[in-house]
């Protein structure tokens, strides 16, 4: 998985800024995508390209249980969010519908990765390559259940 980075140096990016409440009435995912990150970055929709990664600080996705948040990011083209940590409902929602990969990274990777860097993510090796800076970082392995849901391609494909 290769893509370039949109970085928000910010903790506690909540689901209300990822997808503001008024848009929860939209059922067309492509339309939802137009409002992704609108509460934080009005230009996100213009900036994001298919395959991009978001890099952010601690507690990404805190707040509401709206699955619309990972859906909006996913349909914008975001393949993974790399954050210092995730709020748990978002974390699970992200993989349930195979919308995007929630990847936990450590402080050194977080500080090293810059906006616009090209990354290559290999979850089979728990490895992130920074192609721009020619560096390699470790990602935290997924907890077992999350890993299995990802492997299966979503909750409904997962057979315990």
């Amino acid at each position: 998985m290769k893509g370039s980075v949109i970085k928000y140096e910010r903790d506690n990016i909540d689901t209300d800024v990822i997808l503001p409440g008024p848009y929860l009435k939209i059922h067309d995912y492509a339309e939802l995508a137009k409002h992704a990150m609108e509460g934080l970055d009005k230009d996100f929709h213009k900036r994001v390209k298919p395959g991009d990664f978001i890099v952010a600080g601690k507690n990404f996705g805190c707040g509401s249980s709206r699955e619309h948040a990972p859906i909006a990011l996913s349909y914008s083209g975001v393949k993974a969010v790399l954050a210092l940590s995730f709020a748990r409902i978002f974390y699970r929602n992200a993989v349930d519908g195979a919308f995007l990969l929630p990847i936990e990274i450590d402080e050194s990777a977080y500080h090293d990765i810059s906006d616009g860097d090209s990354l290559e993510v290999d979850i089979s090796k728990n490895e992130i390559k920074n192609l721009t800076k020619n560096k390699v970082y470790k990602m935290k392995p997924f907890p077992e259940l999350i890993g299995k849901i990802i492997e299966a391609g979503g909750l409904f494909n997962y057979k315990p």
């Binding site: 903790d11 409440g21 008024p22 934080l40 249980s65």
Partner: protein, 470 residues
């Protein structure tokens, strides 16, 4: 082996267990109009039925208008979602408390009020504030729409076992009418942080918790998610059993169940928690949030912090506070009581039950809302509204200049017409002060119902301990 209350409920609901991954049985599934349409669509696409429509209850709360309900809904997209829920409930045989039902209300207010919420049960709902039901010793998780679909189809949820977190609150509050359950939970979040409870189920314990009424306990458990926890729990006691007696859906063999709960639903002495935190209630002051997450809160006697001081040398925290103050348009050093407000919202699943309205009405009675302030009360449910009206509370609020609305989530999350305009500042009894939560560009200060009421009358925050609230 000694077990915590959480472990007892968890273990008794395991259908399949595999290396810490568990398929849990769900006793009650609550649904609403916003996070359920895609789930029903998924069932239809796969020709699946709802496994236990008798254990599934629905209401419409998130986007319903709080104005006159005899009029049509003007917002077409809201209307579509509301009609979809009606159609889905009819097709799949699910009990629905619709917009005209005397039992309609915020899903977390009506669950307990109707006796759907019971001790020792598992409850899920496509809403993060499902943690509210933990006040009854029910293990209650907020879930996303895929999980809603999974539960509709199977009545089970697949989860990894959360860790346990004991939060002990001890001692007597000096003025329990002014220092409320809201102030206790905001104090806790302020101390442990918005991710302090991540991956855990919190059990709130200690004599301060035992003294709280059921409605106050709900306020505490409601905001567990604001500390990042998967759920919040309080062991049931005689107050719990009394509260649920004789409600619409309370089971017929209730007394028998209570006997069993009395024996079993508590953390055994000697049981170990993964994590512990203790707080003394004696010195808790009324709280007011100043920033853009619930941990950014201070005593009403305090001031808007300087980001450097707030961050205590952590550059990320300093940056976070700086951005928050920019958004909130607040200057460091400003006394909290000097913050002037434009709007007041008394409502939400955190603080819109009868006691909340009674307490707020004491502040309002015989007074007038400050001239530049627009204030509204949105009761948590139609039943809360009816009971409040029977007590004459509606008259007290309306005479003072408050708007008295129909029940729903309303201005807590800005999905219906009740929103802040950009730049407006609101004293709100809700649970989230995130950027844009109550309307794009709106500024939220989280407070208790008495603080919100006092802010409405005075036009700014006041130390409510100085008021006569008895």
């Amino acid at each position: 082996m000694s077990k915590t209350l959480f472990e007892k409920i968890w273990d008794s609901h395991i259908v399949v267990n595999e290396d810490g991954r568990s398929l849990l049985y769900v006793d009650r599934h609550l649904i609403h109009e916003v996070t359920s349409p895609q789930a029903f669509e998924g069932l239809r696409l796969n020709a699946r039925k709802v496994r236990r429509p008798d254990l599934t209850f629905a209401t419409m709360d998130h986007n319903v208008p709080t104005s006159d309900r005899t009029l049509p809904i003007l917002d077409q997209t809201s209307s579509v979602q509301i009609k979809a829920l009606e159609r889905n409930c009819k097709e799949f045989g699910i009990t629905l408390f619709d917009i005209h039902s005397p039992n309609q209300g915020i899903v977390h207010v009506i669950g307990p009020e109707l006796g759907i919420t019971l001790p020792g049960t598992t409850i899920v709902c496509g809403d993060s504030h499902t943690s509210t039901h933990g006040a009854f010793g029910s293990l209650a998780f907020g879930i996303g729409t895929s999980d809603v679909e999974h539960v509709l189809a199977t009545q089970c949820i697949m989860m990894e076992k959360p860790k346990t977190f004991e939060i002990k609150i001890q001692g007597k509050r000096k003025n329990p009418h002014a220092v409320t359950a809201k102030d206790i939970i905001l104090s806790i979040i302020r101390k442990i942080g918005t991710a302090g409870g991540t991956g855990t189920v919190i059990e709130y314990r200690g004599d301060t918790i035992s003294e709280l009424t059921m409605e106050q306990r709900m306020t505490i458990c409601n905001m567990s998610i604001e500390a990042g926890a998967r759920a919040g729990l309080i062991a049931p006691d005689e107050k719990t059993y009394q509260y649920l007696k004789g409600r619409k859906y309370t089971p017929n063999n209730y007394d028998e169940l209570v006997n069993d709960w009395r024996d079993n639903l508590k953390t055994d002495s000697g049981a170990k928690f993964d994590k512990s935190f203790t707080l003394s209630a004696e010195n808790i002051a009324p709280q007011v949030s100043w920033g853009t997450n619930p941990a950014m809160t201070d005593d009403v006697t305090g001031s808007v912090p300087f980001p450097d001081e707030y961050g205590k040398g952590n550059p990320e925290e300093v940056k976070g506070a700086t951005k928050a103050l920019q958004y909130m348009d607040l200057k460091p050093g400003t006394p909290i009581i000097d913050i002037v407000i434009d709007r007041v919202f008394i409502g939400s699943c955190t603080n819109a039950r009868l006691e909340d309205l009674i307490e707020a009405s004491k502040v309002v009675k015989g007074k007038k809302v400050a001239s530049k302030v627009r204030a509204m009360v949105v009761p948590g449910s139609q039943l809360v509204k009816k009971n409040a009206e029977e007590m004459g509370l509606d008259k007290i609020f309306k005479d003072a200049g408050f708007e008295w609305r129909e029940s729903g989530c309303s201005m807590c999350l800005g999905m219906n017409p009740d929103i802040l305009a950009a730049g407006e500042r609101c004293a709100s009894t809700s649970n989230r002060n995130f950027e844009g939560r109550q309307g794009s560009g709106g500024r939220t200060h989280l407070v208790s119902p008495v603080m919100a009421a006092a802010a409405a009358i005075n036009g700014h925050f006041v130390d409510v301990r100085e008021l006569d609230l008895n």
